[in-house]
Amino acid sequence: MRSSRERQSKEGPPLGLRLGAAAGLAFLHLPLAFIILYAFSNEDRSFEFPPPGYTLRWFGVAWNRPDIWAALGLSIRVALVSTALAIVLGTLAAAALARATFFGREAISLLFVLPIALPGIVTGIALRSAFNLADISFSFWTIVLGHATFCIVVVYNNAIARFRRLSPSMIEASMDLGADGFQTVRYILLPAISTALLAGGMLAFALSFDEVIVTTFTAGQQQTLPIWMLSELIRPHQRPVTNVVAVAVIALTALPILAAYYWTREGAPIAGAER
């Protein structure tokens, strides 16, 4: 064992691999840097590179646009409600499926994953045709119905991973010491899975906040922020304003993602983890 470890450290990664990995990561990260650069560009007709000059003007213009604030408000409200629903439903599902074995378990777990395994457009058009058939008119809640459906799986994945790391003896010990099922859930289970739920919730929020493919089918005339951006992408009105909104969205989504990572990273202290 020792010799193999020595050999590995002596070899190090080959140059080709280093370059390949570096190039791949650069490919994944550089494009967003350009958006940030363009937000400061004073050119408002084209995407000229390098920008002829730099200005902060468009941040002020974007700040004073009521349509952007309205779209942002709707997106946040939808994301909050969808996330709350997804946390409840996803946790229940994960609690049931984490250790149980019964007939049909595989089919049920497939059902939970299906909304992200199937192309979003299928979910979108399916919901829309169902709304049509059932004569449901588009509203805040039709957007939420769609979003919560595909957010469940995100929470479910996070929660089920945590439930599996949780030692069953913790629960048994709690019961042996006289706690009833509800007390065990309240004092043992919830604290142990809380960070996983928080992380799942953050990711669900980011997913919902950003969703556009399903939303175009379920929103009717309402504008969420992604739908606002999409219409600007297809028919640009004021490119610099779009640039500024894009930068704001980058910042707004980065925070929950980093938070989610922080709460589920390896080595994060978790009560009752099997080690």
């Binding site: 193999s4 050999r7 990664p13 691999l17 390949g20 990995a21 791949g24 990561l25 994944l28 990260h29 494009p31 967003l32 350009f34 995407f47 000229e48 590179f49 390098p50 409840v88 439903l89 996803g90 229940l92 599902a93 609690a95 049931a96 499926l97 049920i108 059902l111 299906l114 909304p115 395994a117 199937l118 192309p119 979003g120 457009i121 299928v122 058009i125 919901l127 045709s129 169902a130 049509n132 919560a148 459906t149 469940i152 006289g178 099922g181 509800f182 990711l203 980011a206 997913l207 950003d210 992604p226 951006m229 999409l230 297809i234 894009a246 969205v249 980058i250 980065a254 980093l258 990572y261």
Partner: protein
Amino acid sequence: MIEAALSAPPSDSPLRRVSDVLVRRRGLLLALLLTPPLLWLGIIYLGALFALLAQSVFSIDEFSGTVVYQPTLKTYAELFSPANLDIIIRTIAVSTVVTLLAVIVAFPIAYYAARYARGRMKALFYVAVMMPLWSSYLVKVYAWKLLLAKEGAVGWFMQAAGLSGALDAWLSTPIVGGPSLSVSYTGMVLVFLYLWTPFMVLPVQAALERVPVTLIQASGDLGAKPSQTFCHVILPLAAPGVVAGSIFTFSLTLGDYIVPQIVGPSSLILGQVVYTQQGTAGNIPLAAAFSVAPVIIMGVFLTIAKRTGAFDAL
């Protein structure tokens, strides 16, 4: 004495009694836990999918433009008209190219992260893949609109590097080329590749983590060249991860209708057809039949994936 202690109930509160019933009858507990999420997904999601399937067996009256509610396979037959078949094949081709390129871009990142990155470096790699994966889809598409524009950064860098000749030659190649990058298949594939590569890195890395180092060393000790070790040891063992990643890259490309609207040639791909059929054309049956196509394609894909054990690498 012991018996008395065991039989004496610790407390009689109704909550306690409910709890006792649930703890003792696991089936009931499971049913209670599963009912709300199953109801939600069963009614809203599966219900909607069946509503969609139901629509696809109806047809549209060519003269009045209204939906005829009589079961027929006419709409499905329309899928196989040369023009529509062309769209399906083109979409599968784009998805396949995107998937293959994603494997090529993702593999070095995943391999480095799995075998050489340790501690902080490993965490950094993870964040470096997670951040682009979760950051805003539209912002990412928008970034490429900026980059690929005629006056944009890619053209500028090509010129600065003295490669505009090569770019022009590439653009004048049939199929992959076009008047400019932003209206060519090359541009479209690049954007898809950028969007979905992180979905490939994570499962491939997970699969590579499980390849024992000793196995690679044994291969070398037995005289294999690094390239042979790669082809005969590492690649087969990473295959489930690659297939798992392909589920995402393939499915996401199949169903996307936004990227081709913004970057790419004017000829449609599947997602756009579904979108325009249900929207401007108002032909919900044909749109429904068209969206059954990716479901079937993914069904075939998932069946094959399951055989290779890809689900364990998810």
